[in-house]
């Protein structure tokens, strides 16, 4: 049977390793990696030093200290999800504006093309008259 500290160490180091691998393979955008490395560090710290959990439990008044890592973990996940939706809203706005801009520019190009064709027509006729 593994010791709890060893399990936490494996989880933390494994997570950190996976993050570095993903950034290296260009699957994860740099700034996102920072958050996940922090999560890995927190897992490692809380798992390797259970004293920290007991100490935090005393400070925060949570009598049953073992539940503390779960609460912290869940809050972090919620924060992350909220941040994700904020980012998605920003991207949605950008996507909508880009879509509109694309259609507008396409139509403006079309109008310019038509004008040029008309200009070429008139030039051609003038040359014909001469």
């Amino acid at each position: 049977m593994l010791d709890a500290q060893v399990t936490a160490a494996i989880l933390g180091v494994g997570l950190a390793g996976a993050i570095f691998y993903l950034v290296r393979r260009d699957h994860l955008h740099g700034p996102f990696a920072a958050w996940w490395l922090m999560v890995a560090a927190a897992t490692l710290t809380l798992g390797m030093f259970p004293g920290v959990v007991v100490w935090l439990g005393k400070i925060t008044g949570i009598n049953y200290a073992p539940v503390l890592p779960i609460i912290i973990g869940l809050s972090m996940v919620l924060l992350r999800l909220l941040k994700l939706d904020i980012d998605r809203s920003r991207q949605e706005r950008q996507m909508r504006r880009l879509t509109q801009k694309l259609a507008i520019l396409e139509q403006e190009i079309e109008l310019l093309r038509r004008e040029r064709a008309r200009g070429a027509d008139i030039d051609g006729k003038r040359r014909g008259e001469r």
Binding site: S89, E92, R93, M95, R96, R97, T99, Q100, K101, L102, A103, I104, E106, Q107, E108, L111
Partner: protein, 242 residues
């Protein structure tokens, strides 16, 4: 404030799969106002764009469907970029009669309004009336029809609506009107006659589930945008109260 002449305006018609009616609407608007007409094709799959072009309209083709407001905003941005003085918007399904458009210009002239909404009171169903009463209370806007797509925007309103601020709105109703009202735009309503839709149905009032979702989202929007004291006296309704 300078008055708008119809020929200096751009008529913006957002359309999704309206091939049956769009050509008639374009022809009607061109005949009535003599202005240029822009159909914003909201990712249709039925040849709406070709029908609109054949009827003499310019067409914006959105590669991704953005909904009625996203399409209208694309048209408003086009108008702002290309130096138009105002935008007239109407639906492509034929429910707004092009002959009623001069009424909007008359109301604009009479009330010196930045935004004119063409409203058909008779057309409002009981659930709509209840919904609008609720929205009136929530927004503080004394309008009778929030969703009517028959509108006239002047250059100032046009610039505000072209901004990124208005890009995350999903409908052209409450969010758009609250944005305009908080910025001090004068909004008036004028009674017009409308026809029953020839094709298709209201996107907002399609089913009870949709209505419930719409009201819920709108309520959240209203509460989050509430800005007491700023909206008083900026809008006004005209016409007899029924």
């Amino acid at each position: 404030m300078s008055l708008l002449a119809p020929v200096d305006c751009l008529a913006v018609i957002p359309a999704r799969d309206e091939v049956a009616t769009v050509a008639d609407v374009v022809t009607g608007v061109r005949k009535t106002l003599g202005c240029r007409v822009l159909v914003v094709d909201d990712a249709s799959t039925d040849g709406t764009a070709a029908a609109a072009r054949a009827a003499g309209a310019e067409v914006l083709m959105l590669p991704i469907g953005l909904g009625a407001w996203g399409a209208s905003q694309a048209g408003i941005r086009f108008a702002a970029r290309n130096g138009y003085h105002g935008v007239v918007s109407l639906d492509a399904d034929g429910q707004h009669q092009p002959e009623s458009l001069p009424t909007l210009f008359a109301a604009h002239e009479r009330d010196r309004a930045n935004v004119v909404i063409g409203t058909c009171i008779e057309r409002l169903s009981v659930p709509k009336r209840i919904a609008w009463q609720y929205l009136r209370l929530l927004t503080g806007l004394s309008l009778r029809d929030f969703t009517s797509g028959l509108r006239l925007y002047d250059a100032q309103a046009m610039r505000m609506l072209a901004a990124p601020e208005a890009s995350l709105l999903d409908f052209q109703d409450v969010g758009v009107l609250m944005l305009l009202a908080t910025k001090g735009m004068r909004i008036v309503e004028t009674p017009t006659t409308m026809q029953a839709r020839k094709e298709g149905r209201s996107r907002v009032f399609a089913s009870w589930a949709v209505v419930a979702r719409y009201m819920f989202h709108t309520t959240i929007l209203c509460i989050s945008r509430l800005d007491l004291g700023k909206r008083t006296n900026s809008q006004k309704s005209t016409g007899a109260i029924r």
